[in-house]
């Protein structure tokens, strides 16, 4: 019996050595996002969930470039707030990308990201953009075209909970930009039927049959359509809010982090984003693809609304925020 014990112990130890040798790409082509042992350096990318499909293309392309050949990647994708919390809690990260700026600011406060992170990139800390849109059933049976259509009686709206999904704040900001607090209140109280915990889960809830319209981002529709879902994208006919996706490197990041970010912001990298429906931020790419991304007559940006600090304090602060109060009245869970 001792011999079997010893050999099983050995097996376990050997097994431990094997940890991490499998690679991390989850596609059949397997062209090596891989966290290979041969890689000279490891880059940890922690991002919010939806651009995983984009990075699955960008990373192999990056590794094919001159500087990127010997960089191994470790990637983690999840809900923006959850990922930010994880990095704050100790998850290793060299490059982070979140769907709202405050999730990066949280890391600045925790001392993990430099205060001037926005100046580190020519795009002021942005990696891509999008706009708030409506996703409806194929054929748009309820003829949803404007924000006012959402508050018609009998229309059921699905949107993620802004207190678990930071990205969901964009949706409600779109509503707010259209009709202010009275509109938001009516929307939440009368028409929003369910608020899942993340944007992706909201999309799944919608494609699973719940609701008539989903508040989402332009690129989510593209992604869903590419994956064969039976939906239709409707850009609001009257107004919308521009979504800004942030990217930053952490203070102790490997040197390859800057290279990687440079690549992501280059025309090649941005082209991959465009392929999945994301609006580019590289000026050259913006010019090239302008026709693909029409705008409603009125597009509000977060700057127009006073910046995230103001918006978070006024609208989303769990205790004092106006929208938080509306949500609490409607019985939705708010943070802290």
């Amino acid at each position: 019996m001792t011999r079997t014990c010893a050999s099983s112990l050995l097996a376990i130890l050997l097994g431990l050595l094997v940890v991490g040798c499998g690679g991390s790409e989850d596609t059949k082509t397997g062209s090596g996002v891989g966290s290979d042992e041969q890689a000279k350096s490891q880059l940890w990318l922690v991002a919010y969930s939806t651009p995983e499909v984009v990075y699955d293309e960008i990373i192999p392309a990056f590794r094919n470039t001159a500087g990127g050949g010997d960089v191994g990647f470790k990637t983690s994708f999840g809900a923006s707030g959850e990922q930010s919390r994880a990095v704050e809690g100790g998850l290793t990260a060299d490059v982070v990308s979140f769907s709202i700026e405050p999730d990066v600011e949280k890391l600045v406060e925790a001392g993990l990201v430099a205060e001037d992170w926005k100046r580190a990139t020519p795009t002021k800390g942005l990696v891509s953009k999008s706009i708030v849109c409506f996703i409806v059933r194929k054929g748009n049976p309820k003829r949803i075209e404007t924000w006012d259509d959402l508050i018609k009686p009998g229309v059921e709206v699905v949107t993620p909970n802004p207190f678990t999904s930071g990205a969901a704040k964009w949706n409600l900001l779109g509503a707010f930009a259209h009709g202010g607090l009275p509109y938001v209140e009516r929307l939440i109280k009368d028409n929003i039927s369910v608020q899942p915990k993340s944007g992706r889960e909201a999309l799944q809830t919608f494609t699973g049959g719940e609701g008539d319209v989903l508040l989402s981002y332009e690129y989510e529709a593209t992604t869903a359509l590419k994956k064969g879902e039976d939906i239709e994208l409707v850009r609001p006919a009257d107004s919308t809010v521009e979504i800004e996706i942030s990217i930053a490197q952490t203070k102790d990041a490997a040197p390859a982090a800057q290279q990687f970010i440079d690549y992501v912001l280059s025309p090649e990298g941005q082209a991959k984003f465009v392929g999945w429906g994301y609006r580019p931020v590289n000026p050259a790419t913006v010019e090239l693809t302008r026709s693909r991304f029409p705008d409603p007559p009125k597009v509000t940006t977060i700057t127009d609304l006073g910046g995230w600090s103001k918006v978070n304090d006024d609208l989303f602060d769990p205790e004092e925020g106006a929208i938080a109060k509306i949500e609490a009245d409607a019985g939705v869970s708010t943070a802290r």
């Binding site: 019996m1 099983s8 097996a11 376990i12 097994g15 431990l16 094997v18 940890v19 991490g20 040798c21 499998g22 690679g23 991390s24 790409e25 989850d26 596609t27 059949k28 397997g30 996002v33 891989g34 966290s35 940890w44 969930s49 995983e52 499909v53 470790k74 990637t75 983690s76 994708f77 999840g78 994880a86 704050e88 809690g89 100790g90 998850l91 290793t92 925790a110 992706r200 889960e201 799944q204 869903a224 994956k227 064969g228 879902e229």
Partner: protein, 264 residues
């Protein structure tokens, strides 16, 4: 007799609807796109990593709990333990706790703002969002199994043989190896099999502490969730079927061991 038949029918129909049908449908949907596609699905680098990671976590958690479980069972059955009832309830607790609570507890202990956060940071040790966190969560949920299976066997077997060995000059260790261990062996194996099944299938606790780093802290169950959320339904089914196959193997082991247990 009519009533016996109807009872049998009721039981079988219920089992069919609640147990068999769902599993059968997943098996069907898994292989619907064809064997090749399924093979691709379970051999992506992420899937392979997830598979090995899951096994490695189990390989740590199960033996540890088995060893300590035997010790605990011995102490409880044969020794004088103050507050025995409390200890027994404590052992049973992982059985009844929601996995989310387990994850939360680990975050509160080992997270950056947790009880040990500072000390761990100073020592440069990461527990959460890496392998040790997964191991701890799995250890918690698999804790009771071996104890609960070994203790009753110990109770039934009694100490007579060991006492006889002692009078013949055997040391405690010898008595344990040669007499106690063989006597409890089927209970021990059954407990190990149950723990392994539980370890491989753990989802909730691991979901909270994992960090979901593909290839590193993403277990097979987490991979299922991720694929489901990425609209890769067939991929999710494929990974699920892999887990279900492991479950069936475990089930088979349970049946075999049970038979041996009853015979001995």
């Amino acid at each position: 007799m009519a009533s016996r038949l109807s009872l049998r029918v009721v039981a079988l129909v219920y089992l069919g609807a609640v147990l068999v049908a769902p599993v059968a449908v997943v098996a069907y949907k898994t292989f619907e796109p064809g064997l090749g596609s399924v093979w691709d699905s379970v051999t992506t680098p992420a899937a392979i990593s997830a598979f090995w990671l899951t096994l490695e976590v189990a390989a740590i958690a199960v033996p540890l709990n088995a060893a300590v479980g035997v010790m605990t069972a011995l102490a409880l059955v044969r020794g004088k333990v103050p507050g025995r009832r409390f200890v027994e309830a404590l052992i049973d607790l992982p059985f009844a706790i929601s996995p989310v609570v387990v994850g939360l507890a680990l975050v509160l202990l080992y997270g950056r703002e947790g009880w040990f956060g500072d000390d761990l940071a100073k020592a440069g040790v990461t527990i959460l969002f890496s392998f040790p966190g997964l191991a701890l969560a799995t250890i918690f949920v698999t804790l009771p199994f071996v104890v609960r299976e070994v203790a009753p066997v110990l109770r039934e077997v009694g100490e007579d043989q060991e006492q006889a060995a002692a009078t013949l000059g055997a040391s405690r260790w010898q008595a344990f190896w040669r007499i106690t261990l063989p006597a409890i062996r089927w209970g021990l194996v059954y407990g190990v099999v149950l723990s392994t099944a539980r370890a491989i299938g753990e989802f909730g606790a691991v979901s909270v502490v994992s960090g979901k780093v593909a290839g590193e802290t993403e277990t097979l169950t987490l991979l299922v969730e991720k694929r489901f959320q990425n609209f890769d339904l067939s991929g999710a089914y494929a990974a699920s079927t892999l887990l279900a196959l492991i479950a069936l193997v475990t089930l088979g082991a349970m049946v075999l061991v049970n038979q041996r247990k009853e015979l001995s």
